[in-house]
Subunit: 101 residues, 2 copies
């Protein structure tokens, strides 16, 4: 799962919430294998100031992700994510299986 956050209105509050609340909730997701978070800066070909933060959560497969978000821990994580990114444009979230090529 790749989650891409736009720059929040209050980056300092976002960071505190993200690392002190959201990451601990995410780490309780059943089946989570690894949780990686981007460091700054995130570079783009056009030199944009977006995105602000990218999280990559690893599970065995999409079925395991879906199962995780159906649990109470997953529901808590999703609810907290809506606090972090309340508006539709605040984030992009993609769930997919990936294969090494």
């Amino acid at each position: 799962m790749v989650v891409i956050y736009r720059t929040p209105k209050d980056p300092e509050a976002f960071d505190a919430h993200y690392f002190d609340v959201h990451v601990p909730l995410a780490k309780r997701l059943p089946g989570l294998r690894k949780d990686e978070v981007s460091r700054r800066p995130i570079l783009t070909p056009a030199g944009d100031s977006e995105p602000y933060l990218i999280g990559i959560l690893y599970f065995d497969d999409v079925a395991a992700m879906r199962h995780a978000f159906a649990t109470p821990e997953g529901q808590a994580c999703a609810a907290d994510r809506r606090i972090l990114a309340p508006e539709a444009g605040d984030l992009q979230m993609y769930l997919f299986d990936a294969a090494e090529v």
Copy 2:
């Protein structure tokens, strides 16, 4: 590095080019540790039909990525990527260091 492609005008031609030409070029990038490609479907909270494909390329760090794309192999890969995704909106590309949390 995370590369997110929009649905191309000709998906069949895109796939052939991506897997037969682009992936082999990417695999020649100096310092590449792993190249992963999304399988379908890519799921989103809103059930969008985008994006079409996500590639994740792993290097030791951003410095290694920048070095890779400064080589002839990197230049060839970037030039081919512009054939795959000729318009600005055809892809998002993000380069960042990531840390496990």
